[in-house]
């Protein structure tokens, strides 16, 4: 069904959005659940120290995490059926999304709201530094990859 003009900026932006949402969602639901809860067991289900506001925020965080993961993938499917997906652009957006979420999680959830900590019973500073540092690194790498894949953005 897709025409040639379908490959214009809207679908490019949709590729970005899809990757970004999927990246954020994967970081929020999949990485958090499988790596930190189940594999490493550093995070706890609930550490009983959280305020009501933070608990509510975390509930929405959680619900959104799964929703945007699924949404991002359906957006990707939508781009794919209309035109060819620029995979490096999508991959760049995914890495940006992961980095963005980890940064927000590390700064807002862990430090400002205090929903939970990365690990318990240890000196947190190196963990926080690694977490936030790697998040910034992913964010920058993702943006660079995405920019190399879609240099025409400025002209579109």
């Amino acid at each position: 069904m897709s025409d040639v003009e379908d490959t214009g900026p809207p679908l490019g932006r949709r590729t970005d959005l899809s990757g970004f949402l999927f990246g954020c969602g994967v970081a929020a639901s999949v990485i958090d659940l499988f790596v930190f809860h189940l594999a490493l067991q550093w995070h706890h289900f609930y550490d009983l120290s959280t305020t009501r506001v933070a608990l509510t925020a975390d509930g929405f965080f959680h619900a959104f995490g799964w929703f945007i993961t699924v949404w991002g993938l359906f957006l990707l499917a939508d781009v794919r059926r209309r035109t060819q997906v620029v995979w490096t652009r999508w991959a760049g957006a995914v890495v940006t999304g992961v980095g963005f979420f980890q940064l927000v999680d590390g700064v807002v959830s862990h430090k400002l709201l205090g929903i939970h900590q990365i690990r318990y019973g240890v000196d947190l500073l190196p963990y926080d530094m690694t977490w936030i540092g790697s998040a910034v690194l992913l964010l920058v790498v993702g943006l660079l990859v995405r920019r190399r894949a879609a240099p025409a953005r400025a002209s579109s």
């Binding site: 509930g59 959680h62 619900a63 359906f74």
Partner: protein
Amino acid sequence: MCWSAGVVCAGAGLVGPVATAAHTSFTAHMTAHLLLGMLAPLLLVLGAPVTLALRALPVTWGKRLTRLLRTAPVRAATHPVVAGLMNAGGLWVLYTTSVYPLMHSSVLVHALVHAHVLVWGYVLTASLVGVDPDPHRSPVLIRSGVLVVVVAAHSILSRWLYAHPPTGVSTADGRSGAQLMYYGGDVVDVVLMVRLLHGWYTSGRQRTTPRPLPAPAAPHRPGTVRGDP
């Protein structure tokens, strides 16, 4: 097939070993609740009971049924916002007030709670991802918003239960029940999300021109956006 599986799920939640254990164990109660309030409704909805009824019933009865489904109260009750409120609100009332202990002493309350959980589970699921024809289906944005809010309410409640088990429930039992509620709920919730967005995806296929992006703006239901800190 789906319908029968749904009936089996609901049945397993109501009678048999799980239901018997649910009288004494909160974790078993939560298993029954997940079967009855989440999995069974999903399977029942996927079985498209209204379509089947309309095909099987004589024409006059079929017309009566559609007229009934079109009446204002039924339309109001099957709106996702109302169904979501009844569903999530019902759970909050059950677990944060004295209804939970009362449920185990009174047969009537017990039956009412079960009926409420199953009926509103069904209505909510049907309003979000129903396969039966529904001329008044809400826009996908509203349905997505309701789903996110209900999932959030479910996960907040399960965390809250982890810290504050209902009266008469031991800490360990309350905690394992709460975690079961959280993770078990997730499984069904993700299926609901996939069904809902798959509906959005297939509805876009008939269009010959690309849709004017419904996506970039986050759903502007107040609760959903504000939940993202």
